[in-house]
Amino acid sequence: MPESSVGCPLVRSAIAPAAAAQSLAGRSDIVRIGRPGERPVGVMGWLLGFVIMLLGWQIALFLALFGGIIQFGVYAGTHILGCFVLAAYLVCRLNSTVASERYSAALQMVAWSAFAGPFGAFVAASLSFPLARTSSRILRDGHIESLTTDSSALERVERMHIALLDRHVRLEGASGIRPLMDVIAEGSRSEKLEALRVVYRRYEARLSTVLKRALRDPDTSVRVLAATVTAKLHTKYSRKIGDCQIGAAANPKLAQNWQTLAEARLAYAESGLLESPRARAQIEFAVRDLSHAAELDPANGTSASLLDRARRRLEAWRT
């Protein structure tokens, strides 16, 4: 192998000026769920109640005027005052809460009804509710999008999850995706190499079987890439442990350092990359580190629960 060939170092040097942009560009595949106009189920229920109340009040007032129960002046005063009070309340709520979507929609309805009485409230409700109908769609675009953590976004995610469970949403072309193990067993060389790239990028313990199968592939280049991926993953885990060891050695009185070290060891043990004796050894070390962390900070619940988990794993091994 031309161990020092210009190959990849030059690729690296060529795009180095763009490195700053990568941190942003790297986020471009975040899946954006739903549309801006969609409203979740919780918002819907509240809005429906509000509309019924608004319409009821407006219709009652309107009937009272036409039935001659009240004069126009009283009607107009009550209507304007009522709308003003409602609008003021909604504006206050709008400014003081993060779940503002319901209040802004209600405010629009109040504005419509202020101008056109019950007819306005009816029009506003009919304009708002079609948008609130459930529509599930996954948009996958190239724009930089950040995940929001407000409750409406979370509700959208939950709704999408339910839709997936109900099989109301499907991924385009999903039927064409073969399991990676099948690709390694039967695919062409380029498919196998691509599969290993995917394994590296999205590694989790379950994929270790794919890697192990690829290490025995008859094609040399597949074996070499599988070995490269395996070595890189091992290096990632062991480097993390090494860094944590340095941290713990530098500040051995800090329980958090020992806990972090134990977490790194447990992650390695559970990575699927280690054969049983070495995974067990890592867990034994983690138990030792966590015990140390517990001695330093007995009140730390996380260390205690991790220690419990690690001990149970060791016990399972023994039995």
Binding site: P2, S4, A14, I15, D29, L180, V183, G187, L196
Partner: protein, 499 residues
């Protein structure tokens, strides 16, 4: 331009600046034929330090540097030349994606006629528009900034290669395809001098592997788990360029050599014509290594590994194997010989790992040593844990001293250890194990260390095999014959090149 040389050796990123297997091979090749004179073209990038790690042999007449990211500015184009710029940039795009011999021929001709360079093809308005069009075609919706720098580098590298000051030589010898191969092809077409391409590892395979696990290269992952449809990614831009370079090199070269048979199937798959393919193994100074007496003194069972401390050698697997081995052979000693300066971070992580596995008392990192023979003579087995190799010199040299080998199944290691079709020497000279499998390596090492008779029998097989097939004299003769064949006047009817 220096005085003419017999052979112009074209090295990429290595000789004479970087130490390594291929660099050592290039150095040994020149020293083995003192009657031939050599000129070296060293391809590198401007960020690479050009401090010589090798003392040039007496028969190396000169070194020419080709800096890939520095190309001639060329003349400033007139407004009326927009179409011409567009045409040349179209050719450049083909050369970077699906190029062949005719693309390079036409490109060389157009560059010669127009005298364009960076000013016209990269820094002009038309150059920018061409980049935009290429972006739309090759990486739609990808990160424009990354594409811009990649495109700029690749175009500049082509311009730099096509402006290489060619030394007078009777044969051009590229030490890989890739950039070396393109420079060689340029020389072949312009100087009409025969081109020999030698591939140690398969260039496109190696680049593909590097790019697949490159953490620093943006990957949109829009393909998800789908491996059948390759979406346009930045790495595909580079991979296509490397494949194109290999295709051009194979098409233009007169002879293509590699060290072992398995490589030829990859070369064929990448478009190398069957009739150009030949095998010439690596050769070592067998007499020197075979003359080293085995150290019979009482000592700990010793495993030696020779190699740079870099990820591709998978030192980690070796360290863990030794940690496991100390349970099987309690008084074992392991020696790691090799420089640590190429990837200091990795070297540090290896030392950390030694502590993690509690093998401080067993493993010694010796760094670079002046006399490797001393360590080979006092070792019992050589281990090689690499995840990629071609035909490692360390294995051949250790084998010549009569050391049995435990190696991962990479490159031609199996051929060296177990023999090949038509091998006059029967038997195994060691044990081949799966890469990234420390347990298998530890068990194989223990098997050899425990059994004196097996160890000496394997050592003898290795010594005989290397002496017969990988002998420097034989290999030198093969290269000299090939050079002579290529230097012979080519009949006019067979002469190729641009009109």
């Amino acid at each position: 331009m220096s005085a003419g040389a017999d052979v112009c050796l074209i090295a990429e990123g290595g000789y004479p600046y970087v130490v390594g297997g291929v660099s050592s091979w290039a150095d040994a090749l020149m020293r083995a034929s003192p009657q031939l004179s050599f000129h070296v073209i060293a391809i590198s990038v401007s960020s690479q330090a050009r401090r010589r790690s090798f003392v040039l042999p007496a028969n190396a007449v000169d070194v020419t540097d080709v800096i890939l990211d520095v190309c001639p500015r060329g003349r400033t184009p007139a407004h009326s030349e927009a179409d011409k710029i567009k045409q040349i940039l179209g050719l450049l795009e083909i050369a970077l994606t699906s190029g062949d011999r005719s693309t390079l021929e036409e490109l060389i001709e157009q560059m010669r006629i127009t005298g364009f360079g960076q000013a016209a093809l990269l820094d002009s308005k038309e150059g920018w528009h061409a980049m935009e069009r290429a972006y739309e075609r090759l990486l739609p919706n990808g990160p424009l900034l990354d594409f811009f720098w990649s495109w700029r580098f690749l175009v500049r590298s082509l311009l730099a290669m096509m402006s290489t000051p060619l030394p007078q030589a009777r044969v051009f010898h590229a030490v890989a395809t890739g950039f070396s191969g393109v420079v060689g092809s340029y020389a072949r077409l312009v100087a009409k001098t025969p081109l020999l391409v030698t591939e140690h590892g398969i260039y496109t395979n190696e680049r593909r592997i590097e790019l697949a696990v490159a953490d620093w290269l943006f990957d949109s992952e829009v393909g998800g788990f789908d491996v059948a449809t390759a979406p346009a990614e930045l790495r595909s831009i580079w991979l296509n360029a490397f494949q194109s370079f290999s295709r051009i090199s194979y098409a233009v070269a007169d002879v293509i050599t590699t060290q072992y048979r398995a490589n030829q199937s990859f070369q064929r798959a990448d478009g190398a014509p069957d009739d150009k393919l030949r095998i010439i193994p690596n050769g070592i100074d067998f007499t020197k290594f075979a003359a080293v007496p085995r150290d019979a003194a009482q000592r700990r069972p010793t495993v030696v590994m020779i190699g740079r401390i870099v990820p591709i050698k998978d030192i980690r697997t070796f360290i863990i194997a030794v940690a496991l081995l100390k349970d099987l052979v309690p008084n074992v000693s392991a020696i790691l010989i090799g420089p640590e300066d190429e990837d200091p971070e990795y070297a540090a992580s290896c030392r950390q790992l030694v502590q993690q596995v509690g093998a401080e008392s067993v493993i010694d990192f010796l760094g670079r040593v002046p006399d490797v023979l001393k360590y080979l003579s006092s070792a019992d087995v050589l281990a090689l844990s690499s995840i990629s190799e071609a035909q490692p010199m360390a294995v051949l040299e250790a084998a010549a001293t009569g050391l049995p080998i435990v190696s991962t199944d990479v490159g031609s290691c199996r051929e060296i250890i177990e023999g090949f079709e038509g091998d006059p020497v029967d038997g195994c000279g060691g044990i081949v194990v799966e890469p990234c499998n420390p347990k298998a390596m530890a068990e194989a090492l223990a098997t050899i260390l425990h059994d004196d008779a097996l160890r000496s029998q394997m050592g003898e097989v290795m010594r005989r095999r290397v002496g017969s097939y990988y002998h420097k004299n034989r290999v030198t003769r093969l290269y000299e014959t090939l050079y002579a064949e290529l230097m012979a006047p080519i009949p006019a009817s067979h002469r190729c090149g641009i009109p």
